[in-house]
Amino acid sequence: MTLTYPFAVLGRQVLGFLAAVGRIAIFALTGISHLFRPPFYPKEFLTALLQIGYFSLPVVGLTTLFTGGALALQIYAGGARFSAESVVPSIVAIGMARELGPVLGGLMVAARVASSIAAEIGTMKVTEQIDALTTLSTEPMKYLVAPRLLAATLAVPVLVGIGDSIGIMGGYLVGITRLDFNPATYLKNTREFLEFWDVASGLWKGAAFGFIVALCGCYFGMNSARGAQGVGRATKTAVVTASVLILAANYVLTEVFFSA
């Protein structure tokens, strides 16, 4: 082993990483370009919208409901240290809308949808269904990827909006039943301190997270290795990558939206 060996290993890792980033970027741009070129597949889009949006509602709703409740308890306990218990409604609302609604919604959708897309497309690949699409004059990127990218980008902000409302409702329920808040005062404080941009920034984040979820599911599914193990690995990698990218994108978007 020479002295340069560690650098060679590091270099290979860096080059491999950059190549992977490049491949994903090209895949994403190709998928987006198919959204603007006919033929279009509205039925595939509506099916994806239903699968990604409607069927994710229960898991996103339950997650944000419990998170909103727990957040109210935590803020109350923390605020009590400096007699600031009254900030519970506004902090719950701002926290849910800006941060927890989009991030938790995105992560739950990543777990549910990225895995499902990667497994479905990966299985299609290993059973030659993707090749069959090509031989039937149907471009797989247009038929499988583009509708899912669009559906997730549109559906997740809606899920985030609903999740925000349910999370705030969770905080409200805990506030009035466990923390002795007056219901009218709680709602008034929530309304007064919550600004439009708090909600809008969360919805933009939701759109970005939805795109990431569908992109990871489609990319790793389309590049799945053969066999059950290959599909399993693609599914796992899609969920892990989507989750990490969501958290990284959340930081970047927060910097962009709020650092000024």
Binding site: M124, E128, D131, T134, T135, L136, S137, T138
Partner: protein
């Protein structure tokens, strides 16, 4: 109609195709034989554009098969995949009529369904099968549905990838007969890859043997048994002894 000139393809250090030259005239049924792992499927995928050759030329109708002409080629093409490759999420009739429900050959839904049911009848399946999902069918039925899908849009060229693999001898015979009937009836150009010699004798007008990444022998099926080529003789008689190593 389809011509391959000096086609090479390697996957890393594994050189699968080492200069394949092959011509498939219009209206003929060519069967490519060869052992497992000799590159038959890769050859087929090169023609389809699913795999890009490292070197060489593929001509379709006399013109190089680039993206534009390949789209035109695929529009008059049908394929039966080894495992059927039916779309799990669609009922049988929508699998068969896939090409007729979207794209340039789109028809009204009722008409597409009627054609699908007719094609299913053509391959010996009852109309009740039309509304089942692929997972509810046996292997033989899935092959038949795959065959119905391959012929649904009346293609001029049909590829068959291991059409009898995994089927019992009776079902294999049924599929072979169907393929032969359909190819003759439609006047289609057919390319089949298989290592099932019964299929070869039932389907082929001409046979080509792929070994070592090149076409070792090609000729009419009637001359196959008489050829002195030791590779062909070993393969068609299934002998362990001969120039083809039995352990690859």
């Amino acid at each position: 109609m389809i011509e391959l000139r000096d086609v090479h393809k390697a996957f890393g250090p594994n050189h699968v195709l080492n200069g394949v030259n092959l011509a498939l005239p219009k209206g003929e049924s060519m069967v490519i034989i060869g052992g497992s792992g000799t590159g038959k499927s890769v050859l087929l995928k090169c023609v389809l554009g699913l795999v890009t050759p490292d070197k060489g030329e593929i001509l379709v109708g006399g013109a190089p098969a680039d993206k534009g002409s390949r789209d035109a080629f695929l529009a008059r093409f049908g394929m039966l995949f080894q495992g059927g490759a039916l779309f799990d999420s669609l009922p049988v009739w929508q699998n068969v009529a896939f090409r007729l429900l979207r794209g340039a050959q789109k028809r009204p839904k009722d008409e597409a369904r009627a054609i699908a049911v007719e094609k299913l009848r053509r391959v010996g399946l009852k109309p009740a099968v039309a509304d089942l999902f692929p997972a509810e069918l046996s292997g033989g039925m899935q092959k038949r549905v795959g065959l119905a899908r391959a012929i649904a849009a009346e293609p001029e060229i049909i590829f068959f990838d291991e059409p009898t693999t995994g089927l019992d001898p009776i079902m294999s015979g049924v599929i072979n007969e169907l393929i032969r009937e359909i190819v003759v009836e439609m006047g289609a150009t057919a390319m089949t890859i298989t290592h099932d010699m019964t299929s070869v004798r039932a389907i082929a007008d001409r046979v080509a043997m792929l070994h070592g990444g090149v076409i070792r022998w090609t000729g009419p099926v009637s001359e196959m048994d008489a050829t002195p080529d030791p590779y062909v003789q070993q393969f068609i008689h299934g002998r362990a002894e001969g120039p083809i190593e039995s352990v690859r």
